[in-house]
Symmetry: C2
């Protein structure tokens, strides 16, 4: 049976979580904790998790995944073929899609990427066929605090949709599976709209926070930062419209800024990456949208500059 | 006798150096060391200099200015009226022009500002009359290494011209005075051209280095930084032309970048200020040129953003 958007997942799907950092461990962990047949591919914490299992401290209720109940792997060749691949790799590892995911694929395997930014579904579709691909956005504040210990601080909603087509039974069954496992999930009609809606926040706040090493409250604490954030948001709206035919309402600017003011001294993921000397997700969050804008003939000088400032930050980081 | 550009300075002028940080101490110090009647107004190092004099370690020859031969002041009211006021204040103190300089002025007093950026001559002209004002650019690498100790590392040329008119006997006599005291000095026909020529370097390199906390070699070490520097230089050229009628040759872009590559891991003054938690000269180097461009209808989105990034850096610096 060929995987497609019109068929729901099997009743008890075999699930592979590819890239079990904090996000993969949390969402995959909720599924495993609920009794799903989840298999985790990980690298950094492989030894620790195999030995101690995962400890998840969550604002929605702590839980443990004991080592003897967990199926963790450091090599996809050792994993079963799956019904659903949950991609939670950092986008900086997207060049590993082919070797990591190919061994997990059979005829009816579906793929859901929960990664940041743009271009992930497109790349997965190129490699494995667009009919397999769904995309989702994790609105969650989550950290790995030490090996095998995850701290889920706030939020947790996942929104998901089909890649380049309207939602059908498949994505609805995936969302239902998340809901049953204790993860708020919502199906979106238009995944592209959802992606760009998320970028209108990520591009200014991830970008400026990482360039300047400043939390979001500092960015919004004076007119220069407020003006920069708004001007970058305007460019994202123009890029979404001109490059992807996505109409973002201008009211998003005000509402996202208000939301962010309420978050206090928040550190974006790019800011945390920068401070820790880890590679930032520059291409997915900034480079891909910029190239889309350029292809669509949309002028985005601030995004152009921000992308380059981040590349400089990244290439000259300690240890790079 | 009214001061004007057609009369040379008196034979042995009374000189006030206003703001004797590193630049003022060095240039004023060369004049004093040569026997000129120089009076120094300073704040930070007043006690140290009054006690120990100045020690100048210079690539052009060390010298000392013993305390008993120096005339240093912490209050302009105690100083004599002067023939020449040498303004070497940091531009962040330009709001002190009136109280600091007014007591030094008599009918024939001339004023030479050696400050960075744009707008200094204009402000002095507003306050004291344009006929008094000359401007100069110090191409020098100089630091105050400890109280009363100045380290002159490299270069040292001063170029100077009359404000808003061609050079005449006055500015030539000032340049000759510098030359005689051991400071290479050159008279420029067009001070505005000279100011913008300097900005084509200062705006990209001071700006990016302070935003990113990176030395100039890192900025030029990869395509993203090279592209940013060039794009900002293009904006400065457009601003100079559209806002001030100043035609900067495009060949400056290449030559300034080559020059900078030869400078190695150089720290700009804004970078040093940022690292030390001192206010940066944002308005003179970035804000004034940006406002000129806006008044001239020239679009400079990168300069617009750079100015705001620097304001954020500055307002959220440690201790600000």
């Amino acid at each position: 049976m060929r995987s497609d958007a019109d068929s729901p997942l099997p009743q008890r799907p075999v699930i592979a979580v590819v890239g079990a950092g904090a996000v993969g461990a949390y969402y995959g962990g909720r599924l495993a904790h609920h009794g799903h047949d989840a298999h985790f591919l990980l690298r950094t914490d492989f030894d620790a998790v195999r030995k101690y299992g995962w400890t998840v401290r969550s604002c929605h209720g702590d839980f443990k995944l004991p080592a003897d109940s967990l199926r963790v792997y450091d090599d996809p060749a050792k994993m079963p073929r799956t019904d659903l691949v949950l991609v939670t790799l950092k986008t900086t590892a997207n060049d590993q899609f082919e070797p990591l995911i190919t061994p997990l694929i059979k005829d009816n395997t579906s793929i859901l990427t929960l990664q940041n930014g743009l271009g992930n579904e497109e790349r997965l579709a190129e490699l494995f066929g667009g009919h397999r691909v769904m995309g989702g956005m994790a609105f969650v504040c989550i950290n790995r605090v030490e090996p095998a210990v995850i701290h889920h601080i706030a939020e947790g909603l996942v929104t998901m949709g089909e890649f380049a087509r309207p939602p059908g039974p498949r994505v609805k069954s995936v969302a239902a599976m998340f809901e049953t496992a204790g993860v708020p999930a919502r199906v979106v009609d238009d995944l592209a709209l959802g992606r760009w809606e998320k970028l209108i926040w990520n591009i200014p706040f991830n970008g400026l926070s990482a360039v300047l090493d400043q939390t979001t409250d500092l960015l919004l604490g004076s007119p220069p930062g407020d003006e920069l954030v708004r001007a970058i948001m305007e460019e994202v709206i123009a890029a979404a419209r001109g490059a992807a035919g996505v109409d973002l309402p201008r009211s998003l600017i005000e509402s996202r800024i208000e939301l962010t003011r309420g978050m206090g001294p928040y550190k974006t993921s790019s800011h945390l990456d920068m401070q820790a000397g880890r590679p930032m997700e520059i291409e997915a969050i900034f480079g891909y949208p910029l190239r889309r804008a350029q292809q669509g003939g949309v002028k985005t000088p601030l995004l152009w500059a921000l992308y380059r400032l981040l590349k400089l930050r990244d290439s000259n980081r300690s240890g790079a």
